[in-house]
C-alpha cells in the first residue's frame, strides 16, 4: 500500500478522508491520491469496526447466531435475519407455514422502504441539502413504530427464527401498515418534488461516477448499484424465496450507470415495495406463524448457501456444517463490500467534490462492509 503511494509522481497530493475518531460508528477511511483536484487513485482502508462476526457465529447455535447478523447491515436487519433463517430451514428441510412466509416478505419490504428512506435523507445531506433528511426520517419513524409494536425493537429486531417468525403479528399491524402506505404514496411525491426534479441536484448527479455494465459485473456490484448500471441482479426476481414468487413486481433497471441512475433505481424501488406490501397486506393467510421445530437444531453434514436481496444488494450466507449444534464455518457475502470496491473505478478521473455524490449513491453501511 505504502509502496504504491511512494510511486506517485511529483506534484501529487495524498489526502486521508476520515475517520474523525476511531470510536465513532461506521467510519470509512479513504486514502486518495490527487492531482490538483482530480482523483488519480482511491483506496478504502477497512478494519475500524471489525468485530469478527463470522468467528463469533461459529460458537453460537443455529438459533442464536441470527441476532448477530442484525448488527452487520443494521438498516436491513430483518432481511439479514431472514437469510440466516432460510439457510437453516434449507439445511433442516423445515416447511415454513404460508403465513410466516407472507409476514416475512411484508417485514422485509417495510425494512427496504425504511432503509431507502434513510439513504435518501443521508445522501441528500451529503450533497448539501439538509431538509430532505427530516422529511425522510419523519416517515421512517412510522415504520419504526410499526416494527416496535410487532417485533419489540426499532432497529435490531431479531424477529425471524428458523421455522417462521418469533411472534404473532400485532392486532394493529394491518391497520397501521395500510395507513402508512396511504400516507407514504403522497410523501414519495413530495420527495420527488423536493429533490428529484431539483436542477442543482440533477447537475451534481448526472454523469457522475459512471460505472459501466461490464465493470459492475466484474466488481460484483449488486442491488441498486448493479441495477443502475443495467445488470439484472434482483434475487427476489431471479431466485424467489419465501413469498416473492406469489407477488407481482418489476425489477427496476436503469442503464445510464451514473449516480442519478442509482438514485432513480432506489426511488422506483420504493414504489415497487409499496406495491408488494399492498398485494400482501390484505391476503395474509391464516395458520401458524411458526413451524414446529426441534428444541436443539442440528444441521446435517454438508454445505448450505442462501442468498437474499437486502436493500443494498445480494446478501449470502454460507454455512459449512459438521453435523453439530454450531456451524463449523460461516461466511457472509455482504453487498456493501463489493459495491465499495467499485468506488475506485468510478472515482478515477473525476473531481474530489463529486466523490461525496458517488459515495452517497453507493449507500454504504460500514458495519456491513467491515463485519
Amino acid at each position: 500500500m505504502f509502496e504504491e503511494i511512494g510511486t506517485t509522481t511529483e506534484g501529487d497530493l495524498i489526502i486521508n478522508v476520515g475517520p474523525q475518531h476511531p470510536a465513532t460508528h461506521g467510519v470509512l477511511h479513504l486514502v486518495i491520491t490527487l492531482n490538483g483536484e482530480t482523483i488519480k487513485k482511491l483506496e478504502p482502508h477497512l478494519g475500524y469496526i471489525h468485530r469478527s462476526i463470522e468467528k463469533m457465529c461459529e460458537s453460537l447455535t443455529y438459533r442464536q447466531f441470527i441476532y448477530v447478523t442484525s448488527r452487520m447491515d443494521y438498516l436491513s436487519a430483518h432481511i439479514n435475519n431472514q437469510a440466516c433463517a432460510l439457510v437453516v430451514e434449507k439445511g433442516l428441510q423445515i416447511e415454513v407455514p404460508d403465513r410466516a412466509k407472507v409476514i416475512r416478505v411484508l417485514m422485509a419490504e417495510l425494512t427496504r422502504i425504511a432503509s431507502h428512506e434513510l439513504w435518501w435523507g443521508a445522501m441528500a445531506m451529503d450533497i448539501g441539502a439538509f431538509t430532505p433528511f427530516f422529511h425522510a426520517f419523519r416517515e421512517r419513524e412510522t415504520i419504526n413504530d410499526i416494527m416496535e409494536e410487532t417485533c419489540g425493537a426499532r432497529l435490531t429486531m431479531n424477529y425471524m427464527v428458523p421455522g417462521g417468525v418469533m411472534q404473532e403479528l400485532h392486532p394493529n399491524f394491518q391497520k397501521k401498515v395500510k395507513e402508512f402506505i396511504k400516507l407514504f404514496r403522497l410523501k414519495v411525491h413530495e420527495y420527488e418534488e423536493l429533490l428529484t426534479g431539483n436542477i442543482i441536484f440533477k447537475n451534481r448527479m448526472k454523469d457522475v461516477g459512471v460505472l459501466s455494465k461490464e465493470d459492475a459485473i466484474s466488481y460484483g456490484c449488486t442491488g441498486p448499484v448493479g441495477r443502475g448500471s443495467g445488470v439484472s441482479c434482483d434475487i427476489r426476481k431471479l431466485y424467489p424465496y419465501d413469498a416473492y414468487d406469489k407477488v407481482q413486481f418489476d425489477e427496476v433497471i436503469e442503464t445510464a450507470g451514473d449516480s442519478l441512475a442509482r438514485y432513480m433505481v432506489r426511488i422506483k424501488e420504493l414504489h415497487q415495495s409499496i406495491s408488494i406490501i399492498e398485494q400482501l397486506i390484505d391476503n395474509i393467510p391464516e395458520g401458524d406463524y411458526q413451524a414446529k421445530t426441534k428444541a436443539v437444531l442440528k444441521l446435517p453434514k454438508g454445505e448450505f448457501y442462501q442468498r437474499v436481496e437486502t436493500a443494498r444488494g445480494e446478501f449470502g450466507v454460507y454455512i459449512v456444517s459438521e453435523g453439530g449444534t454450531t456451524p463449523h464455518r460461516i461466511k457472509f457475502r455482504s453487498p456493501g463490500f463489493s459495491n465499495l470496491s467499485a468506488l475506485d473505478k468510478m472515482a478515477r478521473g473525476s473531481k474530489l467534490g463529486d466523490l461525496v455524490a458517488m459515495m452517497g449513491t453507493l449507500d454504504l453501511v460500514i458495519p456491513d462492509i467491515d463485519r
Partner: protein, 158 residues
Amino acid sequence: MFIVKYIKNIFKGVKSLLVGMRRTGYYFTHHKEIITQQYPDNKETLNLPERFKGEVVLIHDENNEHACTGCTACELACPNATIKIVTKFDITAEGKKKKALDKFVYHLELCTMCNLCIIACPTDAIKMDQTFEHSVFDRKELTKILNKPGSKIRDGVE
C-alpha cells in the same frame, strides 16, 4: 437553437427550485403536521408498546411468588451469557430434596434484547419489561438479581 435551449433550461431550473421551495414553505407554515415529541417532558404520557424489549424481569405475583423452576433453559438459550441461574436444594414437606432457584443473576450490560430467553422459558416465568433508561453511574449496578428477596416458587409449577 442553443440559446433557446439555454434559456429554457434556466427557466426549468428556476421552476424546479420553486417547486421544492413551495414544499418547504408548506411545512414552514403548517405547524400541526410536525410530529416531533418533546421527549423528557412527555415522560408521563409516553406509552411504549407492550412488546418493547427493554430488560428481562422475573414475574412476581402479589404473594411474592414466581414461576422459575431453575431449569436453566434461558441460560442455555442466551447467546451472550447474560443470564446465570444459581440453584439450591429445598427440603419439601415430604422430606425430599428439590432443586429450586436461589439467584437469577442478570447482566443487563451484556444483554442485546434478542428475546430468545423469553421464548425458551417453559413456565413463562420471565418477560421483557418496557423500561429503557438504563444509565447508571457504576457498572456493577447493571448486574441484577431478578428474584426478590424472600420470594419462592408458586405452588403447582413444575
